[in-house]
Amino acid sequence: MKNSFDEKILEEANDWLNANQKVVLATVIQTWGSSPRKVGSRMIVNETGDFSGSVSGGCVESAVVRECIGLIKDNKPCKKIEFKVSNESAWEVGLACGGEIAVYLEQIS
């Protein structure tokens, strides 16, 4: 049952593309410590910032959406981003759970 394709995110990405939206696919590629979602977890984002799926328990999704919109604007094919433990004294994005994750973003064209 360790199947990361079971959330139908890829199917949803296809629907969005068929509706002429620009789509960036975000995939968890590495995790360290107690990260909430396993490797292979996915999320999709379109040019207006609508998103579906998840790469964490809600900790870093807003930053991922921002990065994905940036990728579309700059018309870049892909990018790798890492998120580390959040600093509780600052209002920055991070993983409150204490884990670290690497997320790979790629435009579907």
């Binding site: 199947n3 394709f5 079971d6 590495q30 490797v39 790979y104 790629e106």
Partner: protein, 226 residues
């Protein structure tokens, strides 16, 4: 990733083929890997590691490289015997899990397409129905009719094929009688004790969706114990 590749992945998923997606994280190139098929030069040099990830059904980045592999695993076959009210909710819950459900019920008025739209329903007695489904130790059985005529042959098939999960609906008394019949049919106590009966984890609910939830919870839990 190209849109055409995404479509191909979705197609492979739908036809239940085992494959992997290999991505070069530096330049964004990706390919679909299937055992026995050759890869492009760029990925061919990592073939051994790719094969290892694939065999272990693992996702991850190959050490000291920028190559990411994601393997697709076939869904688990779950056979429901009895196209009853509980089965309708089981089908709903299983939609968001990695289970491929078939329903067996020889009673046509239960096993109608109107009650189970888009489902594989086999309107035959279990002995005949199982000829149409390939099963093994990775299969699961949920027997819901509590009618010995229908449930028992299915349970016997599941025990013989060593299904990893076998659950049977019915009260303690019904289950005791069922165990006795299986004993009389020559099954040993280890085999009989492997049947989850009364089925499901203890939630306390008695409604059809509540029972379905308790059954699916037990099935998921046993799946992770495999």
């Amino acid at each position: 990733m190209k849109h055409s590749q995404l479509k191909e992945i979705i197609k492979k998923k739908a036809s239940k083929i085992e494959f992997a997606i290999i991505t070069n994280l530096e330049n964004g190139l990706s390919e679909i890997y299937e055992p026995g098929k050759s890869l492009s030069k760029e990925f061919e040099i990592h073939k051994e590691q790719i094969n290892n990830f694939f065999k272990l059904k693992k996702n991850g980045v190959i050490e000291n490289t920028e190559i990411f592999i994601e393997t697709y695993i076939r869904p688990i076959k779950v056979i429901i015997v009895g196209a009853v009210h509980i089965a309708q909710y089981l089908v709903d819950f299983a939609k968001s899990l990695n289970f491929e459900i078939s329903i067996i019920d020889p009673r046509g008025y239960f096993a109608s397409e109107q009650r189970f739209p888009d489902m594989k329903i086999i309107n035959k007695w279990p002995d005949e129905a199982f000829k149409e489904i390939e099963t093994n130790e990775n299969s699961a059985l949920i027997a819901l009719t509590h009618d010995p005529k229908i449930d028992d042959p299915a349970l016997q098939h599941a025990l013989n094929k060593k299904f990893y999960y076998i659950g049977a609906l019915g009260s303690k008394k019904t289950h005791e009688n069922r165990c006795q019949r299986l004993k009389d049919a020559g099954f040993n106590s280890d085999q009989i004790n492997s049947i989850h009966g009364p089925i499901g984890i203890k939630l306390g609910g008695r409604s059809a969706p509540e029972i379905a939830l308790s059954v699916i919870a037990q099935l998921v839990s046993e799946t992770y114990k495999k």
